[in-house]
C-alpha cells in the first residue's frame, strides 16, 4: 500500500479478499437497486473494489466492512449515473438518494436467507420457465432466442417473464416470512 498513514487495523490482504468475496453479492444487489443495467453494476463494483483496497487501512474492524463498502459503492453509483447524462433511462436524483438510504439497510444475512429461499422457489418452476427466468442473464438476445424457439412473439415472452418473476417474488417473500416466523423473529 502506498498510503503513508499507518493502517488502523491488523487485517491482511487475505482478510480483504475474504471480506470482499463474502460481501460482493450484497454489494452487487445494493448497486442493482440504483443502476439501470448490469454492465454498469459490474463497472461500478470493479471500481469500488479498487477504492476499497486502497483505503482498506482505514477500516477499523471486520464488522464495519459492509456499511463502509456500501458508502463507497453508493458514491460510485451516483457518480456513474451523473456521467451517463440525460440520454439514459434512469431515476431522478431524489429517488436515487431515497433508494440508496433504504437499500443500505439490507445485510449479508438477509442476502443469504433470500438466496436460500430463491433456490427453493426457482426449483418449483418447470424447466422451460426456469430457463426463461434465467434468460435475461445468459447473454444479449437470449429471451428473443427463446421466443423464436418457442414460436411466440418476444413481446408475449417478456409478458410471461414478468408474470413468472412476480410469482417467484411472491414465493420468496412467503418463504422468508415463514423462515422468520420459524426463527422466532
Amino acid at each position: 500500500m502506498e498510503d503513508s498513514e499507518q493502517p488502523r487495523n491488523q487485517l491482511s490482504e487475505g482478510d480483504f479478499m475474504r471480506l470482499l468475496m463474502k460481501h460482493e453479492p450484497a454489494l452487487r444487489a445494493f448497486s442493482r437497486s440504483l443502476l439501470p443495467d448490469w454492465n454498469l453494476v459490474d463497472e461500478v463494483i470493479q471500481e469500488a473494489s479498487l477504492t476499497l483496497w486502497e483505503k482498506f487501512g482505514q477500516l477499523e474492524s471486520e464488522s464495519g466492512f459492509l456499511p463502509w463498502a456500501k458508502v463507497v459503492v453508493r458514491f460510485k453509483c451516483l457518480s456513474a449515473i451523473r456521467d451517463l447524462g440525460r440520454d439514459r433511462h434512469v431515476f431522478s436524483e431524489g429517488v436515487l438518494e431515497l433508494l440508496a438510504d433504504e437499500a443500505a439497510e439490507m445485510d449479508v444475512e438477509d442476502h443469504a436467507q433470500a438466496m436460500r429461499a430463491l433456490r427453493v422457489c426457482l426449483a418449483k418452476f418447470s424447466n422451460p420457465h426456469q430457463e426463461l427466468l434465467l434468460a435475461p442473464y445468459s447473454g444479449d438476445g437470449r429471451v428473443r432466442d427463446l421466443a423464436i424457439k418457442s414460436g411466440k412473439s418476444a413481446n408475449a415472452l417478456y409478458k410471461l417473464l414478468g408474470r413468472l418473476r412476480e410469482k417467484l417474488s411472491g414465493c420468496v417473500h412467503e418463504s422468508i416470512a415463514r423462515e422468520g416466523l420459524a426463527n422466532g423473529i
Binding site: Q46, R116, V120, L122
Partner: protein, 451 residues
C-alpha cells in the same frame, strides 16, 4: 400497467423512457414501492448469480473456462500481486471444474453394479449407481451428502439433483446446496437446508420422506400436491397421492404371517440328471440346468407336498418358494443374462414309490404335467428366494384337494456355451436354507406384504 410489472420491465431492461419516468414518479411517492424495487433488485442479483453458476456448470462439462466472478483479474492487478494470485486461483478453480456431478466419499462393505467408478475418492459423472450390498457416502458437488444403504439405486443427475429409484438414503444438505432435489419414482423433495431420509420401495411403488432436522417440501407432480415437512415430520407417497405424518415414520414391521399357512416339502425332494450319474447330483440341492448339445448334463428337480386334511378352498391364493443357494458349478457367463424357470404340477408322488433310485426317463416329464407358472433369475444373482404365485397354481391345488401333490422344476432357457452354471436351490435336507415351501394366503400375497 401495474407498478409491479413496471419494476420487472425496468429490471430486465425492457422499460421505455416513459415507463421509467412513470416508475420514478411512483417511487418518489410510495415508500412501499421503493422497498419492493430494492427487494426485486436483490432477487435480480441473486437470479443472475444462479444463471452464472449454471453457465459455469455447463461450460465445465465442455471444459471451457468461464469467468465466475465479476471481479476481473486485470483490474485487480493494480491491487497486489499476492491478492491477484489468490483471486486468480479462486477464479481458475471455480471455472475449470471437471465434468463431475459428485464424489464417492467412502464405502463400507459396498458392492456395486455401475458403469461409474466405485473406488472411494472417485469423481462421478452423471449416471446410475446400483449399490447391491453395504453402504456408501456420495457427496454431490453442491455439497449435498447422501449416505446410501443397499440395496439401492441412485441416479446422479446434476450437482443439485439426484434420483433414488430404490433403497434408502439419508441426505445432509448444507446451506450452499439449499434447493437440492431428491426425486423418487413418484415425487420429489426440495430441500430447504436440512437432513432428511428417503426410502423407495420399488416393488410396492411407494416412497417415504422423513425430516430429521430442518425443513423440506415434497411434491407430487401427478396430483400437484405439495407438503412442507419440518421437525420430525414425514410423509409417504404412492402413485395416487401423499400422506403427511405429524411425526417420524412408524417403525417398519415385517409382513404379517396372519392369514398365511406354510407347508414344507415332504422329505425326499430330489434332482435327476440326463446321464443318470449320481455324482452330478447332491441331496442338499435341487438342481436345474438345460445344456448343450444334448440332455446328458441337464438337471431337473422334483418335490412333493402332503396336503392330506388340508382345505385349499379356504384360501385365496398360493405360492411356491425356492431358495437359491450358490454351489459354483459352471460359469454364469455361459448363460443368458436372464434365465427362466418353469414349475409344473401333478397329483401323486414325484418319484418311484418302490424305493428305487429315480432315473431321468422314469420320473415325471414336463409333457406329463401341468405348467403352473414361470419365474426368472438374472445370471448375476446367486442367492435369493424365487418362486411363483399364479392363478394356475391355485386352480391346480383346488382341483387336487387331498393327498400328495408333486412339482417339477425345469430351467427353460438354454446355456449359451457348454459348462454353464447349474442353478441350485436348497432341498429339504440343506443344512442352512429352507427347502421348497408351499404357502397359502387368505389374501393375495402382495396385499399381505404391505400390512
Amino acid at each position: 400497467m401495474e407498478s409491479d410489472q413496471l419494476i420487472h420491465r425496468y429490471l430486465i431492461g425492457e422499460a421505455t423512457a416513459e415507463e421509467v419516468a412513470a416508475l420514478d414518479g411512483l417511487l418518489a411517492a410510495d415508500p412501499e414501492l421503493r422497498r419492493k424495487l430494492i427487494f426485486e433488485a436483490g432477487t435480480d442479483a441473486r437470479l443472475r448469480e444462479i444463471a452464472l453458476e449454471r453457465v459455469a456448470d455447463e461450460s465445465a462439462e465442455k471444459m471451457a473456462p468461464v469467468k465466475v466472478s465479476f471481479l476481473s483479474p486485470v483490474s485487480l492487478l493494480s491491487i497486489a500481486a499476492g491478492v491477484v494470485a489468490f483471486l486468480g486461483a479462486y477464479l481458475w478453480t471455480a471455472s475449470l471444474k471437471p465434468e463431475v456431478v459428485a464424489t464417492l466419499v467412502s464405502s463400507e462393505g459396498a458392492s456395486w453394479e455401475s458403469s461409474l467408478p466405485t473406488l472411494p475418492g472417485s469423481k462421478l459423472t452423471a449416471g446410475s449407481l446400483n449399490l447391491t450390498s453395504g453402504m456408501a457416502t456420495i457427496r454431490f458437488r453442491s455439497g449435498a451428502e447422501v449416505v446410501l444403504e443397499a440395496p439401492a439405486n441412485l441416479v446422479l443427475e446434476t450437482p443439485m439433483r439426484g434420483k433414488l429409484l430404490a433403497g434408502a438414503a439419508v441426505i445432509d444438505v448444507p446451506d450452499e446446496a439449499i434447493g437440492f432435489i431428491m426425486e423418487t419414482p413418484d415425487s420429489y423433495a426440495v430441500d430447504h437446508g436440512t437432513r432428511f431420509a428417503v426410502s423407495v420401495d420399488e416393488k410396492e411403488s411407494h416412497s417415504a420422506f422423513e425430516v430429521l432436522e430442518g425443513e423440506i417440501s415434497v411434491h407430487h407432480p401427478v396430483t400437484g400436491e405439495e407438503v412442507r415437512l419440518s421437525g420430525r415430520q414425514s410423509s409417504t407417497v404412492s402413485g395416487d397421492g401423499m400422506v403427511k405424518i405429524d411425526g417420524p415414520l412408524p417403525e417398519k414391521t415385517l409382513a404379517s404371517t396372519k392369514g398365511r399357512v406354510r407347508i414344507d416339502a415332504s422329505p425326499g425332494a430330489f434332482s435327476v440328471v440326463g446321464n443318470n450319474e449320481v455324482e452330478y447330483l447332491h441331496s442338499d440341492f435341487l438342481m436345474a440346468k438345460k445344456s448343450l448339445p444334448n440332455e446328458a448334463f441337464d438337471r431337473r428337480s422334483l418335490f412333493t407336498f402332503d396336503l392330506t386334511g388340508f382345505d385349499p378352498d379356504r384360501y385365496a391364493s398360493a405360492g411356491i418358494l425356492l431358495n437359491l443357494v450358490p454351489t459354483g458349478i459352471g460359469y454364469a457367463a455361459h448363460l443368458p443374462v436372464v434365465n427362466r424357470f418353469q414349475i409344473y404340477g401333478r397329483a401323486g408322488e414325484a418319484g418311484p414309490v418302490d424305493g428305487s433310485l429315480p432315473r431321468w426317463e422314469t420320473v415325471a416329464k414336463p409333457e406329463e404335467c401341468e405348467l403352473l407358472g414361470t419365474f426368472e433369475i438374472p445370471r448375476s444373482q446367486k442367492r435369493g428366494t424365487f418362486g411363483i404365485e399364479t392363478p394356475e397354481l391355485m386352480a391346480f391345488l383346488k382341483a387336487h384337494p387331498t393327498g400328495r401333490v408333486s412339482f417339477l422344476l425345469v430351467r427353460e432357457t438354454l446355456e449359451l456355451e457348454r459348462g454353464g452354471l447349474v442353478h441350485t436351490f436348497a432341498s429339504d435336507s440343506h443344512p442352512a436354507s429352507s427347502g421348497p415351501v408351499l404357502e397359502f394366503y387368505q389374501k393375495p400375497k402382495s396385499d399381505h406384504d404391505t400390512e
